[in-house]
Symmetry: C2
Subunit: 332 residues, 2 copies
């Protein structure tokens, strides 16, 4: 696949594995859509499925899984701490490879139009797909939850959906459809049981309170281990980078005399984020993705295929000459 | 290519780009061999070409380029500081993907047999391909250079080649053919012009003098920048790891009151080395290659292809269930 969109629908069902498996099947039934990952959270009664697809397949797979969720999940019987407005609560489209944010906005709008028209579920657009300034933040769209929305949607113009009738779907509620950047979820564990410290550090490093611009952070307790955690989302990891986040937390922890016990990646991490961290900590002066052996092999294979496709076998000299200015692995 | 061998021949020609281009052509003329990189060093009058190939293609490409070098390079007219015994001086086979060291030894022996038999060049095996304990180290094989070898090979049993007649090829000399691990070349620049410091640090960190076992290191001056450098080879980067090397040099530099100005990768770096450095410095507790988004996509695509190959379209549920225990990118 040359052009890849990621899609990370969140569902209001985190306890029945059979239901989640049937949601995955709905996605995988579309040619060109690949389920990468799923996460069920029984406490929040919520699941997240990550899939990638070509732009065309992404909309079809999204609409199919939203339809399946509307059949299988009844929001009237759902409880859980996490705020939610729908059986499929959130449906973000994320540019991954060879796709722009503008295209993801267009995909979100197309999907939203079909969800409202074909399934009778009212649609709110958020993130880069938002049609109103007060709906850019997902939290603002779903803060008061399904029950409140059901009561207000028909009478309050402020709650009118962007697409569809001003009436929640009986069992499936409403849905927030959006376009956003890839989100990196990263947690740092601190060697203390003092929750105050984690909360202070979170406040010091996050963008909302003047810290790193594209970082969201909260302090939480880490039950079994007697530790606390700074739980974070990097909403634009190319701007607010992983290693800067680590160093900022480390510095703040030092101020409280606390050490970092470890960190964890939640979900999937783009390769570039890890490579940039290595580059940073190793103080590499000349890092470029072309220095990575596996990438060089892939590039050489791609050139060979192009050449074969062009039937131009006299040009099989490998990669372009101006890419060849680096050393061949040391004189040996 | 499922099975990949890397091959890094060194040639006694570092000044004529046309000659090196013709050597590259000889390699690329073999189907399944891909030139990744080349490096010419005019001072040492020496070049290094890095190519990858299937095991079968690797031997054929190696023999062809050794034959081409014997035509184009006349060692009798070659001068340069670097010790060398042949037009193609060194020819190592390196396991890269789906290939064992034992197989690379077999490839080295096959290539050596053909080079001796077809081209009349005497062959010395080194590294894992060595047939005698005193030839494991490449330095021991070529230390006294072509001129000395030419004088001694016919009379000294100690200098007898492993394959071929005890007589150097008139213009192409001899060749060292070997099997070894992938070598990572990594240099750290120090913010001082005191060469003594670089040399002391090199001695403190390298395996030969009791430091990190699989690390070779020397201290050198870095002409134009007024800096000195610890120039290093990690001969088994999975054992002696990049981040340990960086930290060892940093610590020793501190002891002399000197800071690290930067570092550089020479040639190509395996992806795993960078990822392990990121894991180390970020103190990641749960790192696994499966957490890297691009790798997960590649794995999902591979599963899909396997499924398609097996004509078993009822099983298109994406990756195996027991791989799916991680989060889907954070609740959003």
């Amino acid at each position: 696949m040359d052009r890849i969109v990621e899609c990370v629908p969140n569902f209001s069902e985190g306890r029945q594995p059979e239901t989640v498996a049937r949601l995955e099947e709905a996605i995988a039934s579309v040619d060109g859509a690949l389920v990468l990952d799923r996460h069920m959270d029984a406490d929040h009664h919520r699941s997240v499925i990550t899939f990638v697809a070509s732009p065309e397949a992404a909309v079809e797979a999204a609409v199919r899984v939203v339809a399946r969720a509307a059949e299988l999940i009844d929001l009237r019987r759902h409880t859980g701490e996490h705020p939610r407005i729908g059986a499929t609560d959130v449906l973000p489209f994320i540019p991954m490879r060879g796709v722009t944010m503008a295209e993801c906005v267009a995909l979100a709008l197309t999907a939203g139009e079909r969800i409202a028209g074909e399934l009778g579920i009212p649609v709110y657009f958020y993130g880069y797909a938002a049609r109103r300034a007060d709906r850019v933040n997902l939290e603002d769209v779903r803060r008061r939850g399904f029950e409140q929305l059901r009561a207000e949607i028909e009478t309050s113009p402020e709650r009118a959906p962007d697409f569809g009738e001003a009436r929640v779907h009986d069992s499936a509620g409403a849905i927030a459809v959006g376009a956003r950047h890839l989100l990196v979820a990263y947690n740092i564990n601190l060697r203390t049981d003092d929750l105050t410290v984690a909360r202070r550090i979170a406040r010091a490093v996050r963008g909302r309170d003047g810290g790193l611009r594209y970082l969201k952070a909260i302090g939480i307790e880490l039950g079994g281990r007697g530790l606390v955690q700074v739980s974070m989302n990097l909403v634009r990891h190319e701007q607010t980078q992983l290693h800067h986040v680590y160093e900022a937390v480390r510095r703040e922890a030092e101020r409280w005399g606390v050490q970092i016990a470890g960190s964890e990646i939640v979900g999937l991490m783009p390769r570039a984020a890890l490579q940039k961290s290595a580059e940073y900590f190793l103080q590499l002066e000349n890092f470029a993705p072309e220095l990575v052996l596996e990438d060089r092999i892939a590039a050489a294979l791609a050139v060979r295929h192009e050449i074969k496709d062009a039937d131009d076998v006299t040009e099989t000299g490998g990669v372009a000459k101006d890419e060849l200015d680096t050393d061949g692995g040391g004189l040996s």
